[in-house]
Symmetry: C2
Subunit: 409 residues, 2 copies
């Protein structure tokens, strides 16, 4: 579909990296540029623009003025520093075109629409610049207060509230309709659809994720003359812990995923044994018991191993995102739409967070995946073929059409 | 000695940290403040101020106008981020008082002086902000070109040349005399003097240091859905390497020192498996063969272990500071001065770099240590008792007196 391809290309140009990827961190000047373009595309299609206080943007199609019910589709325009062209942007831009297509189909079928429809761009889904991630959708769903969201600070100490004011996206025009359903289209970011040669996945729920941020506290000393036996090297303790996490996951042998991807070292000078280090660990599995078994054993192990070399550990943050289910009726609806369009569809659970998971706490939410080549994501080589993107778009249009023309589900 | 204590206290106030230490990185606004104070103290004592192009500062006492020979004493006023009150500042401030004391003794003994005398503050000894360390003294000794030194950039990309211009210490008044000898007084930063209950060490030479900076190159991917087997985690590879360095040092069992104290991770986002990591490693031993045995085995090991998990390594920098000897006549002179003053003196080798080692490449250099409590340095709790500082000062004065009143050594 040329229109979808062209839209993806024009947004991928904003923050394009030399290696073909996208670096467009949330609420930066580049994010503002993408938001401004999105606003123009909303206007070009005759949709009504709306921006709420946390910067979530909406393009509304009023299909049935007699009701305040609205179905929302969307995703996010922010990226990781090493982001690809599809993660997030695909769901926003296919969503924009889908809202336009469903609106046109309603105009051709007067009386068919029973609900209104909007496309959304949620603020700071990635959590690369501000933690926690899923910020805009969590505020929208009531899971995070606006005040707490505004107070999130990036690594330079700039708060999300201040950053939004700087780019002019602290909105005062929240969505006026009453949300009743949410549908998000996204690239899978794993390789299960590719392995199964599937076109579409209707996501039935999410794995549990435990995010533990650990502080290792040793002591500063000179890297040269300090006797080895007297060193309390916090970087060494953290290095042991990073390897220990992999070992504990392999030992459990239950297919869990785990990572340590962010580290902060003080003073991080080549001539000072590190006195304080913080590492951000994540452990994920469908079964919460597996997550707790691995993480509890991991924490006991690193406490013991750190103590052996004179380093104390403390837990700075311990965020537990429960395993969860997405609305079962939505899963059935997506599977039926896909099947009617001749797509090979399957159900699976998402390993990672998506705005749909935050929004499911307020209204029934659905999540649709298309394949990612090699399971690669958060990488400039992230890729999904245009035909595969088109299939996802077609299923999204059909799903939204069914949701706005009935009030049963 | 009240004057020495007071001087140390007034400089420790510039960049004082809450925990009693000092953070005064080279060529910052705080370094400028310390330099300005040092300039006033030079003037207060009637010494002639001089600043060269790399920002090295001198306070000159013209003791014998008939000769161009000059003896220099000094050290550095910059600190580590987690610096103590004595590292560097002690040698500069005791040196300042010693130059004054020797000058006064020469005034009381007309005709005694055969050489002139100066105190020096060398630019960026620590190497915390700009690498390599020992910058000012290396330029002074001809081991590093002014151009290369100016081009050194800090982690924000600011060059040393630009930083010097900003603080106004790109000097145009280099030392006019011909340097013939250098003496540096410093805290030991290890625990050998304390263990031996010694007052003074005459440093006879330096250990070899090999500084290897290794880049680990994996690939970016999503920390959630990416299958564990497909990850090429550069942070994990670097963590294994940090632990491997300790293991290889212990295996050699030859008393080597080693460290990994600085790390840079890209993109360092909690949701992206790290694609590129750089770690700064150091290996030190008196015997160069031991350094090479450990470091070569270490490099082979981390290359193999990294490859096992899909991560390539490359060496970004490999700096070899040879084991070296300081001028033997200077060692004898320091030992004799200490003995005549009733101090318990011994000789030892320095594990770490000092300006004296850079300067020894141009002229005979001497290095005098006083004890450090618990061997602690690059730490806010770094401490040497006032009486121990006074003994070092007395030995410095006597050593300088002998050096300026004879032209034999």
């Amino acid at each position: 579909m040329t229109a979808l391809n062209d839209l993806i290309a024009s947004f991928a140009a904003i923050g394009a990296t030399e290696d073909g990827g996208v670096c467009r961190l949330a609420v930066t000047a580049l994010d503002k540029e993408a938001r401004n373009l999105f606003l123009r595309e909303i206007g070009n299609r005759g949709l009504v623009p709306r921006t709420d206080a946390i910067g979530n943007m909406f393009g509304v199609a009023v299909l049935e003025p007699a009701t305040d019910e609205i179905v929302i589709t969307g995703s996010h325009l922010d990226s990781q520093p090493t982001g690809g062209r599809y993660d997030g942007a695909y769901g926003v831009l296919a969503g924009l075109l889908a809202v336009e297509a469903v609106r046109d189909r309603c105009l051709a079928n007067p009386g068919a629409a029973r609900r209104n429809l909007a496309v959304a761009n949620w603020t700071n889904e990635e959590g690369a610049r501000f933690q926690p991630s899923l910020t805009g959708s969590s505020v929208f769903a009531g899971g995070l207060s606006l005040q707490d969201a505004y107070a999130c600070a990036d690594s330079d100490g700039v708060t999300l509230g201040d950053a939004l004011a700087v780019i002019g996206y602290c909105g005062i025009t929240p969505l006026e309709h009453r949300p009743v359903r949410y549908v998000e289209l996204h690239v899978e970011q794993g390789d299960r659809l590719e392995q199964a040669a599937g076109d579409i996945a209707a996501v039935s729920g999410a794995w549990m994720t435990r995010k533990i941020s650990v502080v290792f506290e040793g002591d500063y000393s000179h890297t040269g003359p300090t006797p080895m036996a007297l060193r309390r090297d916090a970087l060494r303790a953290s290095a042991r812990a990073i390897e220990a996490l992999y070992v504990e996951v392999a030992r459990e042998n239950a297919g869990a995923h785990a990572s340590a991807a962010r580290i902060s070292v003080y003073p991080n000078s080549p001539n000072v044994v590190a006195g304080r280090v913080r590492v951000w660990f994540e452990i994920r599995h469908e079964d919460e018991a597996v997550v707790f078994a691995i993480s509890d054993r991991f924490l006991k192990r690193i406490e013991r191993e750190s103590r052996e070399i004179g380093v104390d550990i403390s837990i700075a943050a311990d965020e537990r995102r429960s395993a969860s289910l997405l609305d079962p009726a939505g899963v059935e609806l997506v599977l039926a739409a896909a099947s009617d369009l001749g797509c090979k569809a399957l159900t699976l659970k998402t390993v990672t967070g998506h705005d749909a998971l935050a929004i499911q706490k307020r209204i029934p939410a659905s999540l649709i995946f298309v394949p990612s080549r090699g399971g690669l994501s958060h990488n400039p080589r992230e890729f999904t073929a245009p035909e595969a993107l088109d299939k996802g778009y077609a299923v999204l249009v059909e799903t939204l059409w069914r949701m706005v023309t009935t009030r049963e589900s």
